[in-house]
């Protein structure tokens, strides 16, 4: 029988070999770029959006909020590359600052919504039985509402504005992620290592968070990346309806809302914010697809 020191030495060796064989972050990144050309385009768009959002004040010298009535509704020219809106604000600048709103709402709503869904889904699968059944029925109820209807209902309670829009988008995402995560957690619950953890007398919370959650990371990440684009689109829709982000905060959907009145005379205010939304959602979606293919080859055909 090996002594404890022998065992730990062996463990250390295995770990070292493990480390040696694991590809470096850089090389797996390069592999991702080579294997997923479309996903790389998505990654590039996402990265571009992050850079623009982060450095908006350095990229543009205009103020995105302040009105300037001497330059109202100017067509695109050298000074205003994409023209100005009805308050004389530079459209390009507002699109750049709008990326901040879109990223903030999209990332925060998708992360919180998916994470709550993750924990709920795993817990439901872990406890099983009646708890699982009741939980499933509750999720059914939430899933019976189209995304935008539920989001509108939440907005009407808490009011408009960035924080409430995030809340309104987070809530409908929870059941969608919970359902997907639950189905893979059901298989994990039957694994011997969960029995072992239970036999060790670990608490339910510990088993759920330390043993089950890490093993459903693949479906979770897939849901997460898929949700960001959807969240951005939903935010734009809410703002377009006037029930999302409010003036003067720069937001793409809101810009399109105002642009409706000027379609005939100033088409530029109606075109470019839409291009920004489409590009952003497109980027996140194809990046998400690539992440899905990389994490779970079985889902590729979908």
């Amino acid at each position: 029988m090996p002594t404890t020191s022998e065992v730990s030495a062996q463990a250390a060796r295995i770990q070292l070999e493990d480390l040696a064989e694991r590809p470096s972050l850089m090389s797996s990144f390069v592999r991702f770029l080579r294997k997923q050309p479309l996903g790389s385009v998505g990654l590039f768009i996402v990265a571009l959006m992050v850079v623009v959002a982060a450095f908006a004040p350095f990229l543009s010298s205009y103020n995105p909020i302040e009105n300037s009535f001497e330059s109202m509704l100017q067509a695109p020219n050298i000074a205003f590359l994409l023209g100005t809106d009805e308050f004389g604000r530079d459209v390009l600048t507002r699109i750049m600052y709008g990326a901040r709103t879109a990223l903030l709402v999209g990332l925060v709503a998708a992360c919180i919504g998916s994470s709550i869904g993750l924990v709920l889904g795993v817990a439901s699968a872990y406890f099983g039985g009646r708890i699982d059944l009741i939980f499933q029925r509750i999720m059914d109820v939430f899933m019976a509402f189209p995304l935008i209807i539920l989001a509108l209902a939440v907005v009407s309670i808490f009011g408009t504005g960035v924080q409430n829009v995030i809340l309104a988008i987070t809530i409908p995402f929870i059941p969608r992620c919970a359902r997907v995560v639950r189905s893979s957690a059901l298989a994990i619950r039957e694994m011997p290592y969960i029995d072992a953890a239970r036999a060790n007398g670990f608490s339910n919370t510990r088993i759920i968070l330390r043993h089950m959650v890490p093993n459903v990371m693949a479906p979770f990440l897939i849901m997460l990346t898929a949700s960001v684009g959807q969240a951005i689109l939903l935010e734009a829709s809410l703002s377009f309806l006037g029930l999302g982000v409010q003036e003067p905060t720069p937001a793409w959907g809101l810009m399109l809302r105002n642009a409706q009145d000027y379609i005939e005379s100033a088409s530029w205010v109606a075109i470019w914010p839409g291009v920004a939304i489409t590009l952003a959602v497109f980027g996140f979606n194809i990046f998400g697809d690539a992440v899905r293919d990389a994490l779970d080859p079985r889902l590729r055909s979908e």
Binding site: D140, L152, S156, L241, I271, P273, F282, S301
Partner: protein, 323 residues
């Protein structure tokens, strides 16, 4: 089969009751109510007594459990009562707009089928060629593009096109006329929103057609069909597509329900007075009675179309009913 149908029917009941509870209490959690908005709109000085009278008239001062009971009884007996905002019967208000929204939804579904099945088939048959790439980009773009922006672009395109070719800008008519009284007017108004939503919804169905056809094309019986010398066209149309379209039917069915929600935004762009517009208005005015029945209508359509899809699925694929 009947056992399965009844089981699925019974499963709908808790979902609907749960949705009714959720909607009812969500709405009551909103600070303020329709009376405050209504009276503030008059611009006159409003005292608490007037608000109380208004609340009493609308039944808002009754205890919650009683309001809830009324709501459920109303739902079950199709006696929806009156709108708190306009005072007109809710069924009448919904009826006025239902035809329009339903027509747009049906036309959008037809559009999405007409786009999805040919394109999805093309993309599967010519997998990994430039045709495939173009179709896939086209459909990914459809998901990424907000339908309200597509709507704006369509209007913009119409304006520029008619201005250029006919010398005068033309916009789709704003006033709604029924398909039966004035079909030309009706179609020229509703075809654009149907195109905008239909393109967006075709994206998922296109991908579904492609992946499902790809799977079927690898099956043994397709190889047999090829081996006995059938023309590729016949193999795809007769043998492969009929089996591959099953999941596509599901997707289209589920989407039909989502269309009702998606119309909320599109109707706004095209200035259509449909259910979506009614919904946004009633949310803005905190017209509880209208909002709760509208939401329940959407939920019921959604749950019902899921039900129909499940039944169709089980009918087409016996493995499902017996599992």
């Amino acid at each position: 089969m009947w056992q399965y149908v009844i089981k699925r029917l019974l499963l709908m009941i808790p979902t609907l009751i749960g949705a009714a509870i959720l909607v009812f209490f969500l709405l009551r959690a909103i600070p303020g109510d329709v009376c405050e908005i209504k009276l503030a709109g008059t611009g006159l000085y409003v005292d608490q007594a007037q608000i109380d009278i208004c609340r009493k008239d609308l039944g808002l001062s009754q205890p919650l459990y009683k309001q809830f009971a009324d709501f459920i009884v109303g739902l079950a007996t199709f006696d929806y009562g009156k709108s708190m905002w306009t005072g007109r019967p809710i069924l009448q208000e919904i009826g006025l707009r239902f035809e329009l929204s339903l027509q747009v939804a049906i036309m959008a579904t037809i559009t999405s089928i007409l786009i999805a099945i040919p394109l999805g088939t093309l993309s599967a048959v010519y997998q990994n060629t430039w045709i495939d790439y173009i179709v896939r980009t086209f459909s990914i773009a459809g998901i990424a593009m907000p339908s309200f922006w597509l709507g704006i672009l369509i209007i913009l395109g119409l304006l520029t096109f008619t201005q250029h070719w006919f010398g005068a800008p033309w916009m789709p008519p704003i006033e709604y006329r029924s398909l039966w009284t004035d079909p030309w007017h009706n179609i020229s108004q509703l075809i654009w929103p149907a195109l905008a939503t239909g393109y967006r919804y075709s994206a998922v169905a296109t991908r579904m057609t492609r992946s499902s056809l790809l799977e079927v094309l690898r099956e043994d019986y397709v190889r047999t069909a090829r081996a006995k010398g059938l023309i590729e066209k016949v193999i795809i149309r007769r043998h492969a597509l009929s089996n591959a379209l099953l999941p596509v039917v599901t997707v289209i069915g589920i989407e039909f329900a989502f269309l009702m929600g998606g119309l909320v935004v599109t109707e706004q762009v095209f200035n259509l007075n449909g259910l979506g517009r009614l919904f946004v208005d009633s949310v803005t005015n905190q017209d509880f009675s209208m909002t709760q029945y509208l939401v329940m209508l959407v939920v019921m359509i959604f749950v019902l179309s899921n039900f129909v899809v499940d039944i169709m699925y089980a009918w087409l694929d016996p493995r499902i009913r017996f599992s």
